[in-house]
């Protein structure tokens, strides 16, 4: 009894057993369920990616046939997009930290929250079932473009249903966050005193709620066309495949911001903490999240410049695309201004945040290249595009995800990882990442098309460099995971506030008690990032 009494009761040890986890209504446990399932699928996706890079080590067939390669890159895309990156930060860290940062004890609709995790699991099972049933995994690419997706013999229906169910999981998470932010902020926390991570999640949630249904109905049309022959995109019935592309990208472009905005939120948390300085331009950062979400709805056509869409429409979409650069640049400049004259403490989370800025900058600037109508016609469907979106998605969001993991690790598990090993892992990840993807940008400009298991001899050297980069990256990933698991098992106990942060999650114990706070959390005077001992200007 005394042993239990001295041990603090927290959300991790309050109940034991698998049932207390998979049917929990506690947002922290649901966040962890997401974190574990998302990480698992991330590694599945990584393995598929490494296999693709192996195939591309030499021209011609190395380890797989063309069709297998098509299925591998489709599965890689579906898993990475729908099972990893869309739910990554919002569903795991968002679920865990949004209520704590708002100073409340749960999300507004806890049962819905659990339902959305279960939908995620069901969607994941659907996606995996294509490995075994009905013609194998889809070979269409993650975009499922009609009419090929309607005609191919692979199991597109199941993959598409997976994306449909996962979409609803994502909608329910977003819906829950919006309601939570409106209803459960701690007394005194107005919208303009919310942490920036909450702002980012708020903007993200609106995209999830208002854009995801479009992909839902579009994918449903594909399924219905395959199953009942009700053909809406079949040219032999007068259907227009380009309409499919419109519908697909009306969702899938805003979805890019579902992936990027929460990452920006994480960076906006890490940078002030490790500079011990008030964030520069709180409102511009907060509102630019909303601006990105808003503008992001109207730029989808830039994915379709070469599809046969009308020239006038293409010009309009191209112009609108450049608008996205404005709020994005606002964020970057404000982060850099926050670092200026701050008491910078170069810990691993900050390194990941800086890597985010570096990678996202390359991703963003190459984005302007492909957003420009005239240039895009040349680099469309080349490795330039592959390089571009991996810089944004993996180099950006992926690194922010790792940064969040290192930043909040002590809070979530109450333990600390080995900092030296973390530095090494970060270095390997950063170097490996750039060796892996930078050559792709060059290959793309040289004209290497994407989605082929083969290539011309002149692309050999750069492809080999890229593949070697993938090995370095994998070593970095394994080291990072090993370090975190070791930290969880044997690491020293972490203090309540190891980084001297002042957002509300640092006011409670590590790990947090069952209901997050044992006493009323206190808002910092004068704003969420008002560091008391920060140097005055």
């Amino acid at each position: 009894m005394t042993a239990i009494a001295t041990q603090q009761i927290n959300y991790l040890n309050v109940k034991k057993g698998i049932w207390s986890w998979i049917f929990t209504l506690d947002h922290k446990r649901i966040g962890l369920l997401y974190l574990y399932s998302i990480s698992t699928f991330f590694f599945v996706g990584v393995i598929l990616g490494v296999l693709m890079r192996l195939e591309l080590f030499n021209p011609g067939r190395d380890i797989m046939e063309a069709k297998t390669y098509n299925q591998v890159f489709t599965l890689h895309g579906v898993i990475m997009i729908f099972l990893f990156i869309i739910p990554s930060i919002p569903a795991s860290f968002g679920n865990f930290f949004l209520p704590i940062m708002l100073g409340t004890d749960d999300v507004s609709l806890p049962r819905l929250n659990l339902l959305s995790w279960w939908l995620y699991v069901i969607g994941a099972l659907f996606a995996l079932s294509t490995l075994v049933f009905g013609g194998g995994p889809a070979d269409t690419g993650w975009t499922f473009y009609a009419p090929y997706s309607v005609k191919t013999g692979t199991n597109v229906s199941m993959s598409v249903m997976a994306a449909f169910v996962l979409g609803f999981s994502s909608i329910l998470t977003g819906l829950n966050f919006i309601v939570t932010i409106h209803r459960l902020r701690t007394p005194g926390m107005t919208f303009n005193k919310m942490p920036l991570f909450a702002w980012a999640l708020y903007a993200t949630s609106w995209i999830q709620v208002l854009a995801t249904p479009i992909i839902g109905i579009t994918l449903l049309m594909i399924v219905v066309e395959r199953v009942f022959g009700i053909g809406l995109f079949d040219p032999s019935m007068g259907g227009d495949p380009i309409l499919y592309q419109h519908l697909f990208w009306i969702y899938s472009h805003p979805a890019v911001y579902i992936m990027a905005l929460p990452a920006m939120g994480v960076v906006s948390e890490i940078i002030p903490t490790f500079s011990q300085r008030t964030i520069f331009g709180y409102k511009p950062i907060a509102y630019s999240s909303m601006a990105i979400a808003f503008v992001g709805y109207f730029v989808w056509g830039h994915h379709m410049f070469t599809s046969g869409m009308s020239g006038s429409a293409a010009i309009i979409f191209s112009i609108l695309t450049f608008l996205v650069a404005i709020p994005t640049a606002i964020k970057v400049f404000n982060w850099l201004a926050t670092l200026y004259k701050g008491s910078i403490d170069i810990k691993v989370p900050l390194l990941f945040a800086l890597a985010f800025i570096f990678n996202f900058l390359i991703g963003g600037l190459t984005g302007l290249v492909v957003g420009a109508l005239a240039v895009d016609v040349h680099v469309h469907d080349t490795y330039f595009v592959v390089g571009h979106f991996h810089y944004v998605m993996f180099g950006g969001t992926g690194f922010a995800f790792f940064g969040a993991l290192h930043y909040w690790f002590p809070k979530i598990w109450g333990k600390m990882y080995n900092m030296t090993r973390a530095y090494v892992a970060f270095g390997l990840l950063f170097i490996g990442f750039n060796i892996l993807y930078f050559p792709m940008l060059i290959l793309g400009v040289m004209g290497m098309p994407r989605r082929y298991y083969d290539y011309l001899p002149q692309f050999h050297t750069l492809n080999q460099i890229s593949t070697i980069g993938s090995w370095i990256l994998v070593v970095g990933l394994l080291l990072m995971i090993y370090n975190l698991i070791e930290g969880y098992r044997k690491g020293p106990k972490a203090a309540g506030n190891p980084w001297h942060g002042i957002t509300l999650e640092w006011q409670t114990d590590s790990p947090p008690p069952l209901h997050n706070f044992d006493k009323m959390p206190e808002l910092p005077e004068g704003g969420p990032y008002n560091y008391p001992n920060a140097k005055s200007e």
Binding site: L102, D105, L109, I178, V209, P213, G238, I250
Partner: protein
């Protein structure tokens, strides 16, 4: 140790406003879900105006009108059921909800007859008559079956929700002071009505 501290803004309190807001957000997703189909309809109709016109003559305007009136009436009964429960008259509320369910069933039966008539005439995708139609008319029927089918599915789901609410009123779990579940089911039912309000002219009345 066991002093029970509860935050004033706890997520574990019953919060009718939160669940109402959640419902509205969900309705937005439903609107946009159907919106995607309306978008497809708009494009294909603009490309095949005459074919859509010809094909629409295969539908029976009077059946469509009857169904519209039935759905509007059911919307009224469910709205009245909310007023009744707010006033504390749960018996009247339950009666009005049963009327709503009856209307839902009537709607589905009419739809069933309409669809079977199309099947008899071979107008379902893949059937003989359908295959001989020009492309534009094929698209019309594809959209017709998809949109009214998905709408019918929503009618069924909405009906099930209302049945559940009826039993919850009977057991007292939904009552005068705690009626958000009824209001949410009502909102969902109105959405079903709202979508039909557009489906009806687009398919039945465009001649």
């Amino acid at each position: 140790m066991n002093h029970h501290f509860t935050l004033p803004n706890s997520g574990h309190n019953y919060d009718a406003k939160a669940s109402k807001m959640g419902m509205w957000l969900f309705l937005y997703t439903e609107l946009i879900l159907f919106g995607g189909l309306f978008l497809v309809y708009m494009v294909y109709r603009s490309l095949n105006q005459d074919a859509f016109l010809l094909a629409s003559f295969n539908l029976n305007v009077w059946m469509g009108t009857a169904n519209t009136i039935v759905l509007l009436t059911s919307s009224m009964t469910v709205a009245m059921a909310i007023s009744a429960l707010q006033k504390g008259d749960s018996k009247k509320s339950i009666f009005l909800l049963w009327m709503t369910i009856l209307a839902a069933l009537f709607f589905l039966v009419v739809k069933y007859f309409e669809w079977s008539a199309k099947f008899e005439h071979g107008l379902f995708p893949g059937m003989d008559h359908f295959n001989q139609l020009p492309n534009g008319e094929k698209l019309y029927f594809n959209l017709y079956f998809f949109m009214t089918g998905l709408h019918g599915l929503h009618v069924i789901v909405g009906g099930i929700f209302i049945v559940i609410v009826v039993f919850k009123i009977k057991s007292g779990k939904v009552n005068k002071d705690r009626y958000q579940l009824l209001e949410n089911s009502g909102l969902y039912w109105h959405l079903v009505d709202l979508i039909w309000i557009y489906l009806f002219p687009l398919f039945y009345l465009i001649h």
